[in-house]
Symmetry: C3
Subunit: 343 residues, 3 copies
């Protein structure tokens, strides 16, 4: 849906310079922008490129205010954030235009409760006693188990499975194929036979407001207590989070991370791609675990750790450098030797 | 469903001390227990906490028999195992209560064979010639391919896909989104063009009794022979098992493990989280591969291996310790130097 | 479907020795072959085993032409490739036999365009404006978003999700549970609150001809430009490919590989199992990244890299060898010491 530059400026707290018009329909990169698109420039050195693009308007920092531009500028203290918010604004209008309500092929249990404004698309299934709040969209083929509660303005993409009893807050986004609330990996071994028997997995999974969960990620329900994903935390694709884990607020968890059972992660922590965390550990508030760190011990708040087994990133780099130096020495020694032989 | 303590005691081979009553409906942790819940205590030091909880009854070891408890005790030689079995007992009653039979929106091929007592939930699809035995449940959106055979008392969760020709034994549990029997990653390269052409993947996938498979895990069918998962083996979420792999009986395979094609894993092996095993290797009976071990050579029976490339765990730890000592020395040397400079 | 040996010989460019017959129905390994099966022998030393099998005919190299065989031989310069092609030939007949057209429970948007010969199986959903070409098959439960284009002769397996706007070329195979075109992991942080806000993910995902994508793999759409998977590239199960990534032609990407955002991979590159590549890097044409390489810097064309952080494979192996030698020395020193003590 079109928005006027004036409305966008108010929404993203920017200052409009130039003529207000109502032609902006979306956002784009500089390269592929059309005159219906908004672009952004974070750094002054890219402003010329933006002015050469076909974009209909440009979000830029204070540096652009003095430029004599041939099109409207939206001046912001944080252009990238303003651009992201403008994109949400232009996008938000879209889903509401079509397919309101419950599709004829969706299956909603008579004892489920859907507030007005809930969309349930083709072939989705909503179980007994589930409760879904206003503005939430359940896509094609998603299966919402018995007793699940979902807040308002959530987006549940196709073929997602949410196990019975899981709770989602408001504005949660769950991408296609994700599985929420599955049984944790818990067994008791029979000492006599050596066989494994299932340990009860009867805790819940609780996902707080504003969490986003990537495609085909899996988050287990608790064993006898709850698994919790804190407010505002963002989880990428193919991430595994085990039972009884507690993730803090506003964390970033990048693709293919694996978090073992009963781990506690503090607020604002960042776990880069392919990180693994062993069970029952604590990752402190604001800690940063570098790509592929294999964490086998507790990480203090604010720590930057890397390597496997993970240690402070600086120590890991030193160890790597030492081994590399030994390799170089060896090479040099060999070269000397072979030159010696040729003499 | 409620069960009397007397019935539970018999089922889990425990000795009831105190009054029999019929109020137990589930299991719980000490913290969240209500008076309808059963809890367990493996270690005497937690017995007081259990007696302070609201639990309706407590499973405990022989150490508790002499205690003057205010509620019934179930005395067991292995309290955790007894607790797990009690949980199964209390749970088993649940699914049978509702939704027996085939849902009206399920699609069952006329040439498929379902024994009585099979549940097929909304929108599940059962292919031509599939055969499913008594007591098995196929959840919403699961797709069972042509000619698949599934034993009795299996649970196939929502949105699972089972490719044509796959065989499952009895009491197999498949969690949501898992894909069983997909084509292996096999290609032949055309030497002239450098292009890859598909190598036939026409073996089957055979899953024996009592196997559990985690959410979004993938197990490939064999290329020209079968992929086999042995009886009682438990597989966590997001695990990949390649074509022609043979996994023994009663193994544990933790989340995000990747097992390459044609690997053989012996009985009772344990593969911890994020382990990788290169193709055509053999992992001996009872071997334990530590978290994130990257296995590039055969592992003997009973071996405890770790690191990458994996080696006996003790050697890997020694190597890590040596590098760490070199880092320390370097740091100390630098400190001496800088102090020397300051003098 | 049966094919005569004569027809197979022509199709795979092999020379038939022995009597033409029409009994071949499939391909097999030597061990499980029946007299309806074709097998192949790449190496002369396996020819006797093939002749002892029950196979109805054997594809073999020139070495077999002089043998006095009791059954037909197909002589080929590249037996494995001929075998792979024969398997395709025998298999290709299968799907066309049944279920042509659109299943009554499939949901095809009135503004979607399906060419003749497109199969849409039970419960699949095709969105508004989607366009699908002749010979393509969409399996049970697959969800094809609005505006998606799919070329001819593609196979989309059950429960796949393709997000709106994604483009697939001809002969693309997408295995069950894969998610194509999901939002990338992009956020802008609000400096004041520390909260993450969604950065627009409005680029497309473009998949060229002859690509195969494994079960439960995930490929993100671009942020403001496109994600591209080049012609002929083969992707295994549980692989993650981030936004804005460009993969070249005829690459192999093995299971559980993770490729971060904005990475460029050249043609003919090979990424072995569990490899990780950090964001914005370039992997040169024909480079080979060994199993579990953790790539933190650009890799030149033709390079063979390994380890973490990845370096030329030879250097990584040297470093490993040096550490192992230090461990051995330490062990020997300890042994000497303890022997010294005993004296």
């Amino acid at each position: 849906m079109k928005r006027s530059l004036h409305d966008i400026a108010i929404a993203v707290e920017a200052r409009l310079i130039g003529e207000n018009h109502a032609d902006i329909q979306g956002v784009s990169s500089l390269v592929s922008a059309s005159h219906h698109d908004l672009v952004f420039v974070e750094d002054e050195k890219h402003l010329d490129a933006a002015l050469k693009s076909r974009a209909g308007a440009i979000i830029a920092g204070e540096f652009a205010a003095s430029r004599d531009a041939d099109r409207p500028l939206l001046i912001s203290a944080h252009p990238k954030l303003a651009f992201a918010r403008a994109a949400q604004l232009l996008r938000d209008e879209y889903p509401a235009n079509e397919n309101d309500g419950v599709h004829s092929t969706a299956i909603v249990h008579p004892l489920a409760t859907l507030e007005t404004g809930v969309q349930v698309r083709a072939r989705a299934v909503i179980g007994e006693g589930a409760r879904i709040k206003n503005g939430t969209r359940i896509d094609e083929g998603a299966v919402i188990g018995a007793g699940v509660t979902i807040g308002s303005d959530c987006e549940v993409y196709p073929n997602v499975t949410i196990y019975a009893g899981t709770n989602l807050g408001d504005r949660v986004i769950v991408h296609a194929g994700a599985v929420l609330g599955s049984d944790g990996f818990g067994y008791v071994r029979d000492r006599e036979t050596g066989h494994y028997e299932k340990f009860p997995q009867v805790g819940r999974l609780v996902i707080e407001d504003d969490v986003e969960i990537g495609a085909n990620s899996t988050i287990d329900r608790g064993a006898t207590r709850d698994t919790i994903i804190g407010e505002g935390t963002k989880i990428d694709n193919l991430v595994q989070i085990g039972h009884n884990v507690s993730i803090g607020r506003h964390c970033l968890i990048v693709s293919q991370v694996g978090i073992s059972g009963s781990v506690t992660v503090g607020d604002f922590a960042v776990l880069a791609g392919q990180v693994g965390v062993a069970d029952h550990l604590t990752i402190g508030e604001g800690a940063v675990l570098g790509a592929r760190a294999g964490v086998m011990s507790n990480v203090p708040a604010g720590g930057r750790w890397g390597g496997f087994p993970a240690e402070p990133a600086i120590d890991w780099k030193r160890g790597q450098a030492i081994v590399r130096r030994l390799v170089k020495r060896k090479k040099a020694a060999r070269k000397d030797e072979s030159e010696g032989t040729q003499e």
